[in-house]
Symmetry: C2
Subunit: 347 residues, 2 copies
């Protein structure tokens, strides 16, 4: 079977290739071992600036929130009023103004839960808040990036369940590339790239992790991270705020399923960075964005165990991303994991 | 001064933008702390497969080498004989054959030295071997990627000073993109992008870390990693094997200077991934590659201290790379560091 040997696969969303070297999992690992994720997090910690009722760095006090809670990032990478740097006209020294806002969103008042351990209704509230933020910030900003860094290994410095929302006056590199690729595909094939993709994966089955009437989570054919997944609706949906109430419930359910499988893989709170991509907003709201399909990317770093991750380093940074097991192997492993969370099984 | 506020900068080698948020270094860090690099490595370790005279995983015994030593990677991501996977013709499920070789190159017989601590003549031997490998593998393969992962935080699992050389039958994403950008610039401006860039940086001075009559090391205007540098010759040189004997000596000297400054920054053996980019080889040897200029990229992850790195995670993976200090601030810091290595100063 040739797909057990090394080969290249094409990522149509990024117009790039990934090197798949299936046999490389066989090599021994004597390199860096991560600290396993902290498993005993107190429900409330008086020193945690994300907990209800606590004081944050800027002196503000959080309300006694009982669902989601959104506030402005105290150390924002994007501010609404940054001056225009003015370009020196030289093509090699180009700069541009960057303006925006950075928000933090707590998922739940308790520090000791994560999305898969929250109730479905609570996850629906998270989705509703995401939709609200995209709608509101999207009236002004062309791009609203919702993302979650989960786990210390992904640069997350606070165990309280939360994500971030950064809105900008520019279309960042990744969505700009994805926009270009989806547009070109649509022009050529007359149907959105990701809709055709979802249909085919739904028939092929081999890369599916979980599916429901409305949603699909697959290890994409072109996955670069070991257990990377792509989560998307079956219906043509441009933005997260276009989801119906039923679809939001379905999304909460499939997120819980997917993230439970992730946690069950190595019996650890699975680290990842995830984020939503949908049609751009702001002035793009007046344009035709039929080529877009809403989707979430999950990029989890773990490769071999709860403490050994994949390093995207030398060859990957300088030449091309490379993976050590096939997407089909990864999907099969995830698919076959129990639906019940290892933490609730133990009790 | 507007460059102290957030703004975007353009990377002409990758046709992409980076978000520069200078003021973000002010935020406190409560996140992951890396293990500091091991400072007491034995010169010879009988269990280290890279040391002279030792047995490797495949049973082969290393010679008692006294300079550089090259061997085939025992767990190669690329092999010369992988079968063609055959594409299923669908634009969403494209695959291609990947063939090549992966070599490991030890820099020195001793485990307790690194490039900045080696003698200049010894570093020249490393450069000569790089040139030889690019020349030899380049007769067959279009791309020969020389790269070094240094430090456990960059996925390096062996402290013995070494790099890797992966040659492939395809032009990987990163060099393909760089080729496209340099070609377009050359067609428009009639001179290689990086030659014009080196001239301007040499005049502007503010981003220079070290320079010599033949070489220049700068924190590029578009740097994404905190202390990223670009090392390149002043003369128009296509490939590393085109360097004259004098230029190789000059390169050894400036590498020692740059890497000494890196180590001195946080008084630790500075982790990084680095690699060489030059004009493609194989069948490209017969084409005009005047748009290319040989250069090395250094991507070091440390941001705040010997144990706190920059995380390229959520926003960076999903939207756009973001940095927390300006390239000018980084260059100034590096430039002002002593030329003598902290380890030789201490003794
Ligand atoms: O070949 P090594 O040193 O075992 O492995 C290291 O470098 C490779 C090339 O950048 C990466 O693919 C691996 O993830 C990394 O751990
Ligand atoms: O905003 P945080 O959680 O402090 O910071 C984390 O996420 C940001 C956005 O991906 C990154 O730029 C930082 O490097 C990372 O540590």
């Amino acid at each position: 079977m040739p797909l057990e040997h090394q080969h290249l696969r094409y990522n149509p969303l990024r117009d790039s290739w990934v090197l798949v070297s299936a046999h490389r999992m066989k090599r021994p690992w004597a390199g860096q071992v991560e600290k396993p994720a902290e498993e005993h997090i107190p429900r409330y910690d008086q020193n945690n600036p994300l907990c209800p009722g606590n004081k944050r760095a800027n002196g503000e006090v959080n309300p006694e929130y009982d669902s989601t809670f959104v506030f402005e990032n105290d150390f924002p990478a994007l501010q609404p009023d940054a001056p225009d740097p003015g370009s020196d006209q030289d093509p090699l020294f180009q700069s541009k103004a960057a303006r925006g806002v950075c928000k933090v969103m707590c998922f739940h008042p308790w520090s000791d839960v994560t999305l898969p351990l929250m109730k479905k209704e609570e996850v629906v509230k998270v989705i509703d808040k995401w939709a609200e933020l995209v709608k509101d910030l999207g009236t002004v900003y062309p791009w609203v990036q919702i993302f979650e860094n989960k786990g210390a290994v992904m640069g997350c410095s606070n165990p309280h369940p939360h994500c971030q929302v950064w809105a900008s006056n520019f279309l960042p590199n990744e969505p700009a590339l994805s926009d270009r690729c989806q547009r070109a595909y649509y022009q050529k094939h007359g149907e959105p790239l990701l809709l055709q993709y979802a249909k085919q994966e739904s028939e092929k089955k081999e890369r599916i992790v979980v599916e429901s009437p409305d949603w699909l989570a697959v290890v994409p054919y072109w996955a670069t991270w070991p257990y990377q997944t792509l989560l998307l609706p079956r219906r043509h949906v441009l933005r997260i705020n276009d989801l119906t109430a039923d679809e939001r419930e379905g999304l909460a359910a499939i997120m819980k399923q997917l993230l439970t499988k992730y946690d069950n893989l190595f019996e650890v709170s699975f680290p990842y960075s995830m984020g939503w991509h949908g049609a751009p907003t702001g002035s793009y709201l007046e344009e035709d964005n039929s080529h877009w399909q809403l989707h979430a990317h999950y990029y989890p770093p773990l490769l071999r165990s709860a403490t050994v991750k994949k390093f995207m380093v030398g060859y990957e940074m300088l030449a091309q991303e490379q993976r050590d097991l096939t997407p089909e192997q990864a999907a099969e492993k995830l698919r076959n994991l129990p639906e019940e969370h290892y933490k609730t099984r133990q009790t």
